[in-house]
Amino acid sequence: MLNRDRQQGSWTVGLRERLSRTVPPGQVLPDRQPAYVASWIYVFGVATLAAFLWIIASGTVLVLKGATWWHTSSIGHFVNSTHLWSVELFFFCMVVHLWGKFFMAAWRGRRGLTWATGAVAFIGSIGTAFTGYLSQTNFDSQWIAGQAKDGLNSVGVGAEFNVLNTGQMLLWHVMLLPLVVGVLIVLHVILVRRHGVVPPIDAELPAAPPLDAPLREPVAQREPLAPAQPDGRAGTPARPDRVTT
């Protein structure tokens, strides 16, 4: 067997080639972007990532020192406060980024998974924050747990997800949920690099001529017509650059 044949049958070669195809060459960490990427909306996306990194860093210190450290140490109180306020910044920036991408219809052009991973990461982050409220080890967390258990019992999940069990909530908060949110964020960034940033709506969809517009050339010389569009507009010119989903 030739060496090349052996390489083609290797799972490591296959995995390496699959990973190299995940993001187009030069797009992992690009130094130039299309002009429409120059927008504050993406600054808030990057600020969300920065806040997430600080959440992980401060949370790691709190894990090392223990859940009650911040009650007895001024340094612990400071680290706990930076953990809280980085979460506040995380959500603030993420919501601004989310609103911007929603009004851009950022799921266009086969970017549905990019949108979905961001949206699910947002929902997962809310769950992570709620378990953080339950991990304060004070009367506030006790009150929140007492309220939350009624809501969760009413939908039948209280036996599996017991908010009165501080140990379970703490482990969900410091291990399981951050792992899920972190994986979703990594996938989201990879998908952004894979598919590129969504172009502006008016740059992607050329306006169809009005139905009552006068014809400037005989019908036989016009472009072939595309099938009827889902929104009911029939007969718009077939354009190879239309990449709507």
Partner: protein, 72 residues
């Protein structure tokens, strides 16, 4: 002296509007997010001078995968 503890450590102020009630702090944060969003949309983004850019080729948009998908 006004401190963060003094502002945030006291009793929460709630606003009531029919069945809707919201704490003043949450309302302020929501209004701030709306204000920042409006600024993010309206304020022009500063552009990098062309002389500071490298000679690397610009990013393709749409990507090759999308161009293939868009073929009639």
């Amino acid at each position: 002296m006004i401190t963060a503890t003094g502002l945030l450590g006291g009793h929460a102020h709630f606003l009531h509007w029919g069945v809707v009630q919201i704490s003043l702090a949450n309302l302020v944060v929501i209004l701030l997010m709306l204000l920042v969003f409006a600024l993010a949309v309206l304020v022009p983004f500063p552009h990098t001078p062309p002389a500071r850019r490298t000679s690397a080729p610009p990013a393709p948009a749409p990507t090759g995968e999308e161009a293939r998908d868009a073929q009639p």
